[in-house]
Each structure stands twice: as C-alpha cells, then as structure tokens.
C-alpha cells in the first residue's frame, strides 16, 4: 500500500478582548438578549460610517510582535462581498492585500520535539451575526431569526503556511496559539463562547511528492478534540477516496460532532468569488514605529523565553517547564511560590504545583486564578517541608487546611496550633524506640532472623505512637543503630 503524507494549514479566528466592537461603540459582552448590542453601524443603516477601534489594532500589533512577524507601516481594509442574512451590509470588512501582520512563526511542542510553524499573515476583520433556525415560536414559522449582537465583534484571523503533517501537529499548533493569545492578553480563549475557532485545510499526497494535493477546508472547529477527530476522519476519507480511484474536489466541509464525520456543504458555484476591493469608507491605517515600539515594551516575557528561563533557573525539565508555562497565570503562580519557598526548593515547588495543586484545582473545577491557596501560602508550606519541620504526609494535611481555611492562615500557624511539627529530636525518639523494642521482642527476633518486613513494622509502630509526627528517616536511622 502507498504511503501518504498529510498536509495541513490552519486559519484561526481569534476574538479580540475589546470592550467595544471593531467599528462601532456597541458592547462585545457575551450573552446579551438578541440585538441589544447592535447599533446603527452594526445593522448597517444608511449613512453610517465605521470608525476603527484603537485597541483592536493594538491587539493585532501585539500578536505580530509575539510571533516575530512584520508589522505593516500601512494597512488597508477591504470589503469581502457575499450575501447572507446575518451579514447586513452585504460585505464583511476584512483585509486583503495589506494585512496588519505579515509572516511570523510559532514554536510548537509536539510530544518531546519542538517544531516551528510558519505563519503567512494575521489580519483584522469583523465577525458576522448569528442566524437562528429553531425554537422561534409560532409567529416565526418558516422564518430564520437574526441576532446581530456578534456582528462587528473584532477578530484577528491568523493563517499558517501548510506546515503541519499530522492531526497531532495541528492540535499542538492550535494549543500553542491558544496559550499565546491568552498569554499576551488579546483573547479570553473561551472556546465554548466561540472566542477561538479553527478552520483546517487538509490535503494528502504520496510520500515524497513535492506538489500539494487538492485541499478541503473543515470549517469552524471550536475544540481541540473536534480538530483532532475532524482531521483524522478527513484524512481517512481522502485516502479511501483516492485509493478507490476517485479524486478530491476542493470543497468546504463541516464536521458533525455526533457522527464524527465530515461532509461537504452544498457548494455554490460563486461561493468563493468575494470580489475584494479596498473599502472606501475606511482610510489606510497608518501604524507609526513609535506605536510598535511602545507595544513591544508592554509585551510580557513570552512563553518560549519563560520556559527556557525556568529550565535554566530552576533546573526544570523541558516537559515540566512547558506544563508550568501553559498560561501566564500558572507561570506567575509557580514563580511566586518559588519566591516564597526559596529558590533552592524550586523542584519541590514544581511538583506541588503540578501534582497536588493541579489535582485540587481539577477536582474543584477551578482555574489557577481561583486557587484556594495563594502562592505565598504554598511557598510557606514547602519551606517547612524542605527544612524538615513537617513530613510530606503532614504537609498534605496542612495543604488541605490551607485550601479550606482562607487566605489569612499560614502553614506556620497551622503547624504550631495543631502541634504537627515533626519529631526529629534523637533523645525523644530514642526513648520511644527503647520502649517499643522492649514491648515487642517477637518483632525484634524476626528482624534478627533476617526478615526486613519486621523492620518496617517497627518503624510503623514508632510513627503510630507519635501520630505520624516522627521524622521517618530519623526513626529508621536510630532503629538501625539500636538493632545493629
């Protein structure tokens, strides 16, 4: 059987975090009642003119800088002409020849290896409204309802080169992009609300072939799982079609999450003739270099740089560093924990954040921003583990108390008030051990006859007698001495 190579390019619509729409003063807040955020500009009444939102441009510049793209000195808006009821002007204001961002690249972690995905462009445009076909009530029989609240919401469309070679790479790219746009504060990343939507252009070609096959575009994938499933299905379908002697026709397809299949939309012969031309309602956007320099100065340290710094400073593995830089909040939390616990305890901090805290957050369905324990509290707790004041199992109890006790409590206060300090004092432990050995001659005899199990049982007895407070390492040292 022939070997096939998969070729994928992705277009992502990223909803920008602005208060107002891209060309009007209507709110962009999610969830308003129909048409309560649609003013004269959004519904395209006669005589209105679009005025560009400065913050939307700033978001595009930030993104361009974050991916090392070229920021256009002069950028132009164009009309993309097509007819649909949720597009009241009969065209979408988008960009064609002179987008705000050209080029750029995004490093992507695919399993253990890093791959660089090249970007073609990123341009600003407005979103369309929403059409509702069901649940409209008796009066609206045979009608579709149009809600224009979303019309005019600012989007940044980010287009890659056809650089991805598997669904796994496509998902890794989408995840990295999702993390980046949240990291630099231009998008809330809420995929359920449609703030981050991917279109995947998928084609296949025989391995070794340099020309591209005919692509089909899977539209509007709003979860990473759907992206993976849709591409997997599409690739299988394209291979089967070609191996059965058929050919692929360029088409736009939809992914049906219920059946897990992709299917072609009814193709309209003129569907792709958008007749772009510069929008005479909008003057060219001039982005002076001072604005770009200012945006650069305001950009936070980017995920890739942060990752490398964490590896260098804390000696973390690439894997741990990539987990801890999944979001800006998480990376900041981790670093604040290290500050509180001491730099020499960075690795213990990483473990607590990635294991104990992550499990707790997952269980309570919370984000790191809503953590029930502050970084300072967690750092304080870790410092007491590191200096031997409490054992790890005691620390878990203190951790739980801190999580439910509010931000005012501290590990030190809980340890003191509940007497949880580890007993490491040799004198106290030796006395206890002597008592136990005297009371359990049977176990001592078993150990002396070579049964290691008996030793563990003796350690267990000490721990039990101290309600878990004895330092287990110290106990075992002392026991060995006594039994030697």
């Amino acid at each position: 059987m022939k070997q096939w190579e998969v070729v994928i390019g992705i277009e992502t619509h990223v909803q920008l975090s602005t208060r107002a729409k891209i060309f009007s003063g209507s709110s962009t807040a999610f969830g308003a009642a129909p048409n309560l955020q649609a003013n004269a500009v959004d519904i395209a009444l006669p005589g209105v003119l679009p005025v560009l939102n400065r913050r939307a441009v700033e978001c595009a510049i930030r993104f361009g800088l974050a991916v090392d793209g070229e920021i256009a000195a002069k950028s132009v808006f164009a009309r993309k002409n097509y007819f649909y009821p949720d597009l009241p002007k009969g065209y979408q204001i988008s960009q064609y020849e002179l987008p705000v961002v050209r080029g750029g690249r995004l490093p992507v972690q695919v399993g253990e290896r890093e791959k660089m995905i090249a970007l073609t462009r990123a341009h600003l445009e407005e979103d369309a409204g929403k059409s509702l076909h069901e649940g409209l009530g008796q009066a609206a029989q045979g009608r579709s309802g149009i809600d224009l609240n979303r019309a005019g919401t600012p989007l940044l469309e980010i287009v890659t080169e056809p650089d991805m070679r598997s669904a796994a790479e496509a998902v890794a790219y989408a995840r990295a992009l999702h993390a980046l746009v949240r990291w630099i504060g231009i998008c809330d990343g809420n995929m359920q609300e449609g703030s981050f939507r991917c279109d995947a252009n998928v084609s296949i070609r025989p391995a070794g072939e340099t020309l591209f096959g005919t692509r089909r575009e899977i539209k509007n994938l709003n979860s990473f799982r759907f992206l993976q499933q849709a591409i997997d299905y599409e690739v299988r379908w394209q291979i089967a079609t070609i191996e059965d002697g058929g050919s692929i026709e360029q088409a736009t397809v939809l992914f049906d999450a219920d059946s897990g299949e992709t299917r072609a939309m009814r193709s309209k012969e003129d569907a792709h003739d958008y007749r772009y031309f510069p929008d005479p309602d909008l003057l060219p956007l001039v982005i002076d270099r001072q604005w770009v320099a200012q945006a650069r100065a305001e950009l936070p340290e980017l995920p890739a740089a942060r990752r490398e710094r964490l590896m260098a400073d804390s000696g973390l593995s690439a894997y741990d560093a990539s987990i801890l830089t999944a979001s800006l909040d998480l990376a900041n939390y981790y670093e604040a924990t290290v500050t509180a616990a001491g730099k020499e305890n960075a690795k213990i901090c990483a473990n607590w954040v990635m294991v104990d805290l992550a499990a707790r957050l997952h269980r309570e369905d919370r984000d790191i921003g809503e953590s029930p324990i502050s970084a300072a509290q967690l750092g304080g707790l870790i410092a007491r583990i590191a200096d031997g004041t409490i054992s790890t199992s005691m620390a878990r109890k203190v951790f739980d108390e801190l999580c439910s006790g509010g931000q005012a409590s501290s590990a030190d206060a809980i340890i003191a008030s509940q007497g949880l300090q580890q007993i490491s004092d040799s004198g106290a432990l030796t006395a206890l051990i002597d008592e136990l050995l005297a009371a359990n001659p049977g176990m001592v005899a078993e150990f002396r006859s070579g049964r290691e199990k008996a030793f563990n049982a003796l350690v267990g007895q000490v721990m039990k007698a101290t309600r878990g407070q004895a330092n287990p390492q110290r106990v075992s040292e002392l026991l060995r001495q006594k039994l030697a």
Partner: protein, 127 residues
Amino acid sequence: MAPSRGCGGKNFYDTLYGSLVYHLSDFVTMSLTLEQVHRIAHLARIEVDEAEARRTLGQLNEIFSLIETMQAVDTQGVEPMAHAQELAQRLRPDCVTENDQLALRAAFQAIAPEAEAGLYLVPKVIE
C-alpha cells in the same frame, strides 16, 4: 431574481463598479462580454433585464476605455493608492458608547419588515 433590499444604505452599484474597476487586470481584453455583465450582476444580486444589461455593457466598456487611456501613463515605481485622500484612518478609543439599547432596538425593529422576540426575521435560510 429580485433586487435585494434591506441590505443597509450601501449602493449596490458601489459594489458592482468598485469590484469591477478594482479587478481590471482580470479582464485582459479590457472589454466585457454580455455574459460577464450578467455574472457580475448575479454576484451583486441585481436584477438586470436584457436591455439593461446591454446598456450597462456599453457604459462599463466606456469606463474601461477611459481607464485604458489612463493606463498609458508610466506608473513604474509609484505606490498604489488605497484611498483617494492622503489621510490616515482616525482611531476610536475602546469605549462602549451605546447606552439605551432597548429603546434603540425598539426603534430599529419598528422599521424592520418583521421582528419577533428581539430577532429580525428573514425567509428561512439553512445550509
């Protein structure tokens, strides 16, 4: 097909001529066929009958010949203009300026052909 209505204040001939003139290079001969006029009219959702199409063909070809004359000018090294005025786009601060949206919606929907429960109603469209 009936001419579209209710699509805002944008003149459809804007779209028709705007895109035609902008895509001049698509028309190698600088002269349109009647078929091309019908196609562009269809894309712009404008109903033109045969007589109107012929008249439009004549008008468009006249515009083309005017442009052909202009194309004799040497524009080597001249940056294409995106707008007739040498001005830059003014920017608006990111502020919500619409307040009484209930009253606004009521006013807009009073002049809409059909509205129900806050939604504008249109003939059923489904892909």
